[in-house]
Symmetry: C2
Amino acid sequence: MDTRVKHGAGVSVGRMEDQALLRGTARFVDDVPVTAPLHACFVRSPHAHARILSIDTSMAADLPGVVGIYSAADLRGDVTTLRMPLGFPSPTMPKNTTPFVLAPDEVSFVGEALAVVVAESRYLAEDAAQMVMVDYDILPAVSDCRAAVEPGSPTVRTEIESNVLQQYQLAYGDCDSVFTAGHTIVADDFWVHRGCAHSMEGRGVLAVPDLSSDTLMVWSSTQLAHELHAAIAQMLGQPEDKLRVITPDVGGGFGAKFMIYPEEVAIPAVARKLRRPVKWVEDRREHFTSAIQERDQYWHAEMAVDAAGKIVGLRGSMIHDHGAYTPQGTNVAYNAASSLTGPYVVPNFLLDVQVAHTNKVPVATIRGAGYPQANFVMERLLDQAALVLGLDRADLRQRNLIPPEKIPYTKPLKSRAGLPLVVDSGNFPALQAALLERIDYAGFQARQDAARARGVYLGIGIANSVKPTGRGPFETAKVRVLPSGKITVYTGALAMGQGLKTTLAQICAGHFGVSIDAIDVIAGDTSFVGYGMGGFASRQTIMAGSAVHQASIDVVAKARAVAASMLKQPESEMSVQDGYVTGAEGKSLSLAQIALAMKGAPGYSLPYASDPGLEATSHFHCDDQTYAGASHGCEVEVDPMTGAITLTRYVAVQDSGNLINPQVAEGQVHGGVVHGIGNALFEFMAYDESAQPVSTTFAEYLLPTAPELPHIDVLFCNFPSPLNPLGVKGIGETATIPVASAIIGAVEHALSDIGVRIAESPLGPVRLLELIDATGHDAHLR
Amino acid sequence: MDTRVKHGAGVSVGRMEDQALLRGTARFVDDVPVTAPLHACFVRSPHAHARILSIDTSMAADLPGVVGIYSAADLRGDVTTLRMPLGFPSPTMPKNTTPFVLAPDEVSFVGEALAVVVAESRYLAEDAAQMVMVDYDILPAVSDCRAAVEPGSPTVRTEIESNVLQQYQLAYGDCDSVFTAGHTIVADDFWVHRGCAHSMEGRGVLAVPDLSSDTLMVWSSTQLAHELHAAIAQMLGQPEDKLRVITPDVGGGFGAKFMIYPEEVAIPAVARKLRRPVKWVEDRREHFTSAIQERDQYWHAEMAVDAAGKIVGLRGSMIHDHGAYTPQGTNVAYNAASSLTGPYVVPNFLLDVQVAHTNKVPVATIRGAGYPQANFVMERLLDQAALVLGLDRADLRQRNLIPPEKIPYTKPLKSRAGLPLVVDSGNFPALQAALLERIDYAGFQARQDAARARGVYLGIGIANSVKPTGRGPFETAKVRVLPSGKITVYTGALAMGQGLKTTLAQICAGHFGVSIDAIDVIAGDTSFVGYGMGGFASRQTIMAGSAVHQASIDVVAKARAVAASMLKQPESEMSVQDGYVTGAEGKSLSLAQIALAMKGAPGYSLPYASDPGLEATSHFHCDDQTYAGASHGCEVEVDPMTGAITLTRYVAVQDSGNLINPQVAEGQVHGGVVHGIGNALFEFMAYDESAQPVSTTFAEYLLPTAPELPHIDVLFCNFPSPLNPLGVKGIGETATIPVASAIIGAVEHALSDIGVRIAESPLGPVRLLELIDATGHDAHLR
């Protein structure tokens, strides 16, 4: 990038999204102006597992204003199958594992939809939904994944034989030998519990059958416009070109919108049936009981460390709570299992994995997608090993980090697609060193002593992580100069609040020598880009950014060539700046003039022999991923009397490659850390023993808010990726992964005198007091 | 084309358009389903020339159901300019020559719109339009273009200084010398009068502001979807990507829809203003007074022929009646002037041209676009020369046709864009020879004698023509295999009744080895194809057909490559047939499977390293044109007592290059000949001396109908063009060009005993009787 002029890459220009968001003129699904839409409300199961004996809609249907009530049976003719497609197609996955558009005869988690009511208003639809009488035969429910895998456990759905969806071993080297060779061994049982991805805007779908153009228009608050397009086409048996999916402003995704939901098929199906617009916007309680959730793994893990403080082996087993269905795949479990070693060298490895169904909301990817769980297990083991070996925690880590001279470093495991896992770039010791300096690790002992002298329990924790980011296989960007002179970027990437439009506009603006005001970005509209992937896996700047970069280069080259031809001057002397292409003698043409000329006119030659238009499309391809590292550290004060944990300091050192907009990047890190703080200390999706959810409001399910948060000190320590022309890496997830590890490590460290061992997250005050109680030191403290 | 399997090129498969058209399920603009559209009616001038003193809408506005009434003043803020864009942009054209969206202060032809009424129904809108009170100051009007160019003539618009828009000379060689060298000279004054292009469906515009997607959707019965898109964007100051133009079924164009009309801007502007759908569908009277018209030229021409019967010079002058404005350009006059020599070798040439404004409907291109007028002048001169020289008419022509060995033959004139006029292919003597044989020219004398013995005046006439077809600069075709397996062709070409979809589907089907049922064709929808030209100048099979051909080849190649990769078999052994790609061992994949795999899935590698999707786009470029020849002949019976002319025989020999669908091609020839018969004998757009139109219904303006038509015998004698991969040439216009020449020649021939000279077209019975009267032979006859 030698074009860092004006609003080009590398500059912290203000986000183009913010005016609308701050002034309340953004347009979310619920704001899309449609004449006389109908409103939908889903009838959802109150039972974790039950057979549907009958559905009586007669009373509800009599309510004035109710337009229609549809159960699965009523939609059979409107969809090609009642079973949703599998998000990650796999030949080995059973056919009967995906959810239903509407459950036909059995419900398998509380919140599963079995009917949809359509009415003239949402109020009416809600009232009518309450009046739909469903007769259930309640079946045994499985709440705990550890029980689910026991022989004799009832199955979560009567159609399956066993709750164990997948069972496999990942291994390399020879663990048996090293674990019997007399090395120091630490071991523990870990639990990373289930949470949600509470974006400010929940899900929402609006389907409008446009009879005039024979097009079904679907707006959805999704991370996957093109996948949704394909799924609706397939489920409704509609040709792809009679369907348009648009994502308006999306109020956050965080992974929970990285799948195709039953509601996203049911609403279009009903709208098409009624030939009227139908809208459904998720309420918060629905988000708790029908949007996907994550984390939720039980691990037993052991680490063998030799006398030199080198890890020689890592082994264990993990049970992954998968929930009732498989909407997407089992990548969360695989990600966790295969990433356990993180940025460390581990010569021998063995892990047994069980993916277990329970009668709970399905589990799929949320920010970090399995990596936070693995990181928690690994970093907790390292802390324990340091304690046992009497080594400093940072020192032990330092001895085991992948050495920079070995990068690119091929990990001994394969990706779920069978590809090698290659750490393409980075310097993990440098990241940790930067962290230790920034957080004044050396000076901590003095701070801790001073605090303890005041009766305050202060602790410090650190954690290292790495995540492959920028999943392929491709992303699309079309850069087009409209004849009006406006430069527009169309992309299959998806803007859901992270400043994507600003980022892409900057990349484009740099090439054209203009400010981002000259650029429009249209993302997530399938009518403008035929093929796209969307927003997930911290991929968008890498994949879409690189595509915008390449397409911009191509358009600038074309503009120079056309201008040279029109001005009859050498192409080599043409430069593009401020919307003009200027030649040697100061003769210039505006981009608008060039675009208009290249549009072509009937019977006239184009001014330059090429395809028409002043535009270029790039599908940036990359199957490899960029590895983005992070070293986080924090200090906490713990009150052993109340269990209160206060974060007093947080430092995030990030390797995010080159930054397009440092301020936006820092914002992403802030968000990621806060998400991690939620995972560490607050967000606990609770189910009772009958798999009944008991935290379905923000009164029961706690999110971190401003008073709970420390200043988050972000330091970029960037090692550009060689895998893309921008040298960028992903950010969104990487700042979440090590957070819980660092925080819990700090808490344990603060209470080291008491000897509390913490192997779970999230950790609330009540649970911390229980752990303190269990040490027997509680009496002494209170 | 080695792929003439199933429904490939060269097969007369039934048209895919016909089911809908014959069953009444076709969708024209008026059929597009829109909820609660408003209806527009235009207030049009009853005067040929007048100043608008005031417009009083108060009474009309009070009519219940009237939503709005807008004059030019009311739309000033809604359009970037009141002046329409020039269809063929030209730096030399005056800025003030295009029509107005609505006339602001002066009207210059009867039918010019000055206000638009929008109401809840068309009835109300029509009633209200009648109640708009316009106070006019009537100005002198110019009806006859010969008077228009006289010094001192009033100007047709007060803003111009002279009615002569253009005046130029086309010349080469040395006419002065050859016309004074003692050769035989024939000379006459010719008149080809004005007619319309009466498609079954008139014009129509529907504009729907889709607030949900911020898109203005415009349906129009046009030949130029993409040009209309660009014009509306420019006139409304809207970004191109917030605008979608769709052409539904179009009930014929014939050139009258090859321009952007004021109504096509006014209706979108009003719809956007009102934020409601607004529709206007032209009625037949409006088509007579506001759709463009053509022909209408006065010529004086002289031909010098040497003793060997070789043309040595051609000279003259022409006044072209251009009407009141220049919506498009002056190509009709230029086409006529530059094509006068037709398929003949003319060594010396000089022509003075005047393009003259009159207070009549603007003149623009209608089927043939100037070529029929020039052909009429040339072929009449040849008939006269033969008579004077005592040579057979066919023999004289034969001596002067461009010899096949000189093809490619560069004509001495340039195109209006300054490019050489190169006859790329053909064999004109062969066409004429085929005609003479088919019509039994040699046996005609016996037939004529036998008829005369029965008291019947039988005549034979022949005419040769050639027209460059397939105007560029490009046309777009995207061929896409949807994941559902359907093959869809998207094109910027425009289907307006000539079987385009069938033709393109056949070209595509041949490559895929499927029937046309497996193929959808979407034409004239700007949301699917970014750049396109549309339907005009007999270009569509040449330009769009070649693009489909190329894109199909590319998609087939990609399907083979992907299948080879997926099946792990050599690409060279892959064959595509019946929707499957099959390898050596009979292993196969459906196109649907390949398309679905190449759509890509999040995080998975594409099965073949290339851009995603199973599609290809081709912009077939060609600035050169294919020259399509025709030799037509006919026999007529003329009743000199009544002036009745009866066509008894018609033979059309056509060189149309390779035929994609011979039956469709023959249908096009039939239509072209009938259009020519209308021009020759029936269609006469009459204005009185004050430029008041006096033929504004089908009672006054006669169209040929079935009883007036002979069997039309079509013989293709094809010489493929080297300019495109299909070897095709245009058809639509080529069959119209020589028709009037042949018919009038036959009429004159039938009456050769009487010595009637006919130098005008159309020729009705009353006028023929006048011409007979003028010979003085009439008494003898009656």
